[in-house]
């Protein structure tokens, strides 16, 4: 699925034990470890926002675009609200959207991928055609339209992003399922007469799960990016403050030309950090889990740009 190629097989032994994956990954990829640490910190900050946030999210504590000061290290936004507070709460919403949209995407993509890979034949063909169709939809215009049709509520945003992201998951899972399916113990199970559901649940899914997790992490990054883009275009949920909305608010009120860089730089930097962390972790996981991904890459000629961290039309 991803454009990223991991190390050539020659130079690294593939990791067999799942337990050893985390430690091995950290050892080989210090950047991933850093990414993980950062992400955990952000998560903590976001989860504990109600407790840790220094000021009230809705209370004006100073002038519009107040300068950074000791009591407000990152200054104030266009409503006179403390930026640090906004960042903590904003990260919360952004992460929620990211996780929720990824969940939607995982569910759809995982199901489609497993079904296509496991059943093969006509099911596979039909599902892949549908996947291909979704791949060629111009995503940003579609997101704009759906947000316009349904209205920009958080729920709708999550669904929209989820609907657009499942394709890459489906692909990866399908490839993996296909290879697992050929394995001896699966064939043995079938010979014994085990039902499809049982085989999928007990034999296929466990083999696919790690890859799914890696893919999940990468999808979260894309989802967060998409939400930021939607907010910027004015289609974000206005009743919730996400990091994207913080940027958009500042932009709408001419923060830059007013010199209020603190209203724009930190939220975007935080988003970039979150996305970067997710990418590093996800990439490292993928590398570690599936050396044969390289082959999958060469044959996955219909990948989108988005998979890595979601470029493609949103980038533009």
């Amino acid at each position: 699925m991803s454009v990223v190629l991991q190390e050539p097989v020659l130079q690294e032994a593939p990791i067999r034990s799942r337990r050893g994956i985390v430690l091995e990954t950290i050892r080989r990829r210090p950047s991933a470890a850093i990414g993980a640490t950062l992400l955990v910190l952000v998560l903590l900050g976001a989860v504990l926002a109600p407790v840790l946030a220094p000021y009230d999210l809705h209370k004006q504590v100073g002038p519009v675009f107040g300068h950074p000061s000791w009591s407000h290290p990152l200054g104030l936004d266009d409503g006179g609200i403390d930026m640090v507070t906004l960042l903590m709460w904003g990260a919360r919403i952004s992460l929620v959207v990211g996780f929720a949209a990824t969940l939607v995407s995982m569910l759809i993509g995982g199901t489609v991928g497993v079904a296509a890979g496991y059943f093969g034949g006509k099911t596979d063909t039909i599902l892949m055609r549908i996947t291909d169709y979704f791949l060629v939809i111009p995503d940003v215009p579609l997101m704009i339209i759906v947000a316009a049709i349904w209205g920009p509520s958080l729920f709708h945003i999550v669904i929209v992003i989820g609907i657009l992201l499942w394709t890459s998951t489906a692909r990866v899972i399908r490839a993996q399922v296909k290879s697992v399916r050929e394995r001896v113990y699966v064939k043995r199970a079938q010979a014994i007469g085990a039902g499809h559901a049982r085989i999928v649940l007990r034999h296929v899914l466990p083999q696919v799960a790690p890859l799914l997790i890696a893919n999940t992490v990468l999808t979260i990054a894309v989802a967060i990016f998409d939400e930021t883009a939607l907010s910027f275009l004015g289609l974000g949920d206005p009743s919730r403050i996400s990091l994207g909305k913080v940027i958009e608010n500042a932009f709408q009120r001419a923060a830059i030309s007013t010199g209020a860089w603190w209203a724009i730089v930190p939220p975007g930097a935080l988003v970039a950090l979150i996305i970067l962390s997710c990418s590093l972790i996800g990439q490292a996981l993928e590398d570690a889990l599936n050396p044969r991904l390289r082959v999958a890459h060469l044959s996955a000629r219909r990948f989108r740009l988005r998979p890595l961290v979601g470029r493609g039309s949103e980038a533009l």
């Binding site: 020659l10 169709y133 704009i144 990016f225 975007g268 988003v271 970039a272 740009l305 890595l308 533009l316």
Partner: protein, 320 residues
């Protein structure tokens, strides 16, 4: 014969996809609440007759099925209809917007390829060192930045130094060719730089991986043993190996590029196709929307096809 088979199958798929996309888009737009008529009828002292007249004019008084058929008929004749907003042919509106987007986006892609290749080479060559780590992380770092945010950062950095909006300085009266060129360059610099920075990471990774593969191969060891200098090795073998993925990536990104660099265009007031489509949505300008989507879908499908064929041509082992 398998080759021809494959090509035909892919072409067939492309055509079907476009048709399905057109039909679904047609339905989707008409699902959006609010109609262009209510927008256009907001003139002082509007009358019910006006509403009716507008509906008739836009063919919105017919059943959806009839509208669909009319739309298809017009499409076959190459007629994309007339924009509700400015009453001009959609094809003209789209062409003008597209003309504006293309140079900026192509320049950005070029920049990302060049920068990506350079950093990829460095990363591969300096495998295992801190340089590699830093290069890759920086590349990923830029890749992780929200495009519009990076654009805004560049605006903050360069405002006063480079123009931060628009395509040209339209107030240059009869500029000389050279002046005009410099002006265009100054205006296109930041938007395409934004695009380039945000996209180059992918090329870095591809080039690096491709090179690492090649560098580990036996014939490279042989070449080195023979005394070939590193740069020659690079050029002749490693980079060539990276050509396929790069070419594919370029083809794919071109497809999506036509989708309009909407985020960049919004930040830099670039009058391109991204903005045109965005505004069409807000105004429920169905003909513009249908035309715009058609354009985007065709471009994506076309370039995906190109990428597929490239792969097929360059690596015939894969025909799955």
């Amino acid at each position: 014969m398998r080759g021809a088979d494959y090509v035909i199958k892919r072409l067939g798929f492309a055509v079907v996809t476009v048709f399905v996309a057109i039909s679904l888009n047609f339905a989707l737009f008409r699902l959006a609440p609010g109609s262009a008529v209510s927008n256009l009828a907001r003139v002082p002292h509007a009358t019910p007759e006006l509403h009716q007249a507008l509906k008739r004019e836009f063919g919105l008084d017919k059943s959806k099925g009839a509208q669909y058929v009319i739309y298809l008929k017009q499409l076959v004749r190459g007629n994309l209809g007339v924009s509700f907003e400015n009453q001009q042919p959609v094809s003209h509106n789209l062409w003008v917007a597209l003309k504006n987007t293309l140079p900026m986006v192509l320049l950005g892609t070029l920049f990302s390829i060049v920068l990506g290749t350079l950093t990829g080479v460095v990363a591969a060559w300096r495998r295992g060192t801190a340089v590699e780590g830093a290069t890759v992380t920086t590349a990923l770092g830029f890749y992780s930045m929200p495009t519009h945010w990076l654009g805004l950062m560049l605006v903050i950095l360069f405002s006063g130094v480079l123009p931060t909006g628009g395509m040209t300085n339209d107030f240059l009266i009869n500029p000389s060719f050279w002046t005009h060129l410099k002006d265009l360059a100054a205006h296109i610099a930041l938007p395409s730089l934004t695009l380039g920075l945000v996209l180059y990471g992918e090329y870095t990774l591809i080039v690096r991986s491709a090179m690492l593969e090649t560098l580990g191969e036996d014939y490279i060891l042989t070449a080195r043993a023979k005394g070939l200098r590193p740069w020659a090795i690079l050029r002749r073998h490693a980079l060539r190996n990276a050509m396929l993925p790069i070419a594919t990536l370029v083809a794919l990104s071109l497809g999506y590029i036509v989708a309009g660099a909407i985020l960049v265009e919004t930040v830099f007031s670039w009058p391109g196709i991204g903005r045109a489509v965005y505004e069409a949505v807000l105004q429920r300008d169905y003909p513009m929307l249908q035309g715009g989507f058609l354009l985007l879908t065709i471009s994506v499908v076309f370039f995906n096809l190109v990428a597929d064929l490239l792969y097929f041509k360059l690596d015939p082992r894969i025909t799955q």
